[in-house]
């Protein structure tokens, strides 16, 4: 794979990495273990590690009280559409900004970067009023459209594509390919790692989005998973930690799945053609 490097001599690296790994994943492990504990045990100080009497109570409560199927479906649909939209539209514009010359290019890039730097909280209420006025309240499109493209995605794709050799473009043009074809057939396949990264980050952001789905939904049928979980685990003055951790564990599973599915693209990478 990487030729003649001695892979065994790096045992010390493995050792360090393993120690770091254990340290890094401990809250995650605690979260999963905690979902099997009772409320009283969860409030202990210092916190306990292994459950004293592990039980599935929190999970049975979670699935019986929540209309899980509806919320899960809403979250999945929104996250998939938002991710797909971002992968497509952001790479299109990222490519144009990275490799093509056109009037308004610099201004467009500046505007995109500028909005990336504006704190989201300031546009929240005007955006809500806008969405309400166009009648998208309490609907899935209302959850999807404002996030279908993101300046972050454009920036990421632009930076990545700038690292690809320009000769690819000329080679394509010499071969008589149209601009869009060059994009679709030559550039895009080389963007595997960047698309995988953008896909994971966009999915994560959309999946965990709480505040926007909360204010846009008017009926519980439009709730996404984070909103529903907050509903059942937080009270006016107290929190139901067991439900909260069980919910957090369930919520993290699709993100893990997406991560595992996309990260294979890191390995495939571009040990492929095109780079002279």
């Amino acid at each position: 794979m990487i030729g003649t490097r001695k892979s065994s001599g790096h045992w010390w690296l493995y050792a360090i990495l393993t120690v770091c790994l254990v340290a890094v994943i401990s809250p995650f492990v605690w979260m999963v273990l905690g979902s099997f504990k009772s409320e009283g045990e969860l409030r202990q100080s210092p916190p306990t590690w292994w459950p004293e009497a592990a039980s599935l109570d929190n999970y049975t409560q979670l699935f019986s009280r929540l209309d899980f199927g509806t919320y899960f479906a809403n979250s999945i649909v929104v996250a998939i559409v938002v991710t797909a939209g971002n992968l497509l539209f952001c790479s299109m514009l990222g490519y144009a900004l990275a490799m093509l010359e056109f009037p308004g290019k610099r201004a467009l890039f500046v505007i995109v970067m500028a909005t990336l730097m504006i704190p989201g909280v300031v546009t929240f209420v005007p955006l809500f009023v806008l969405v309400a006025n166009v009648g998208l309240i309490d609907s899935l499109p209302g959850l999807i459209l404002p996030f279908l493209v993101s300046p972050f995605g454009v920036f990421l794709m632009r930076q990545f594509i700038m690292g690809l050799p320009r000769d690819l473009l000329d080679a394509g043009r010499v071969d008589g390919a149209g601009e869009l074809r060059i994009f679709a057939r030559i550039i895009l396949p080389l963007c595997g790692p960047a698309l995988a990264t953008l896909g994971i980050l966009t999915f994560l952001g959309s999946w965990n989005n709480f505040l926007w789905p909360l204010v846009v939904a008017q009926t519980e049928d439009t709730y996404t998973l984070p909103v529903a979980l907050a509903l059942y685990s937080k009270g006016q003055n107290s929190t139901n930690y067991g439900l909260l951790l069980a919910g957090a564990t369930v919520v993290v599973l699709p993100v893990l799945a997406v991560f595992l599915a996309f990260q294979r693209r890191f390995i495939e990478g571009i040990a492929t053609t095109g780079i002279k």
Partner: protein, 427 residues
Amino acid sequence: MRRSSAIVVATIATTALALSACGRDGGSASGATTEGKDVSSGKATGTITVWAMGAEGEKLPALAKEFEAANPGAKVNVTAIPWDAAHDKFTTAITANKTPDAAMVGTTWMGEFAGLGALDPTPPSIDKSQFFEGAWKTTEVDGTSYGIPWYVETRLLYFRTDLAKKAGFAEAPKDWEGLKAMAKAMQTKSGAKWGIGLQAGGTGSWQTLMPFAWSNGADLTKDGGKAYNFDTPEVQEAVKYYQSFFTEGVSDKAAPATPTTEPDFASGKVPMFISGPWMMSAVEKVGGAGFKDKYSVAPMPTKKTSSSFVGGSDFVVFKNSKQRDTAWKFVQFLSDPKTQVKWYQQSTDLPSVQSAWEDPAISSDPKLATFGEQLKTAQAPPSFPTWEQVISQFDTELEKVTKQGADPAAALKTVQQQAESIGTGGQ
């Protein structure tokens, strides 16, 4: 070049025009109390949407079914919303005119929502004397009442009876000296690390301090309820007393922002604290079987009187509701003493209607009965729209007083100055 400069000029001109079109009208009539329009008699009809938070939102539909059964033709659609960011949901909904017909609203939000002109005044047919006085005050903004108090909570002194006995105290402290003496004795004789857990300033600490101020007869408003009034001898005395717990080593001034109240109470490390009714089940869960006999609750120690903070939730009808009549009939249903008792049994939320407390379901529990006693004298903070902003200044100053030993008199002067510059936010 010319095209872009033309665009720039056009943009500036449009902006200037738009800005010059702005401006407020002269002030509208202030403070006249409004009476709600009355509600028709007879059965309710039509469909209303209701928002309720958290567990209450989950349990309300069952209660609503009884209302529907008694009023055929009426339908109540309950949407449960999470407590997390519920305030934001309400404010954005009010802004975009997407409010429900009725909703449950936290008591500390009433001033703000009424100030936004979103709420409908309470019709005179609803009798206010049936509620606890402090609870009713939470619905009053600028002299007008909006909605009703639905359920209430108040803050009491929690203490470990077994550790108190060990320290030589057979009953709860009755006054301020007694409280401090008992806390100190628990440290020396019962092995407690800190005598009592008090919040050392920071967000929300006013809810622990104000009971002392109110017990000392403080009035947080002046000029007939039209202005803030923090810099008074009564409040100062309370703050000095509060500070003494920290300077004398009875309370921990370096406690983390998220306190470990329940395990500390169960282990005896901090055997006293001040909080509301929800802590009863919380400490019993941590304390395990039999713990409920090891602790008790007591009214706030008396200085001039014994007073505490009253909170909970009110139930309001929104002004632009198209089913106003039905909504108010639902509210009336919720305030009926029998419904209040039923609600307690389903949710353990304490009733706001005084006669509901006579029901054996509630009166048989001695700890609950103590909450009922305190509710008779508990007080609510003034319902000015700027309360949250002003009281956060108070929390900041209180933190300096408890953690850095700042002078209470100077701190209160600062708070009063800031309160005056922020204003009450009334029209």
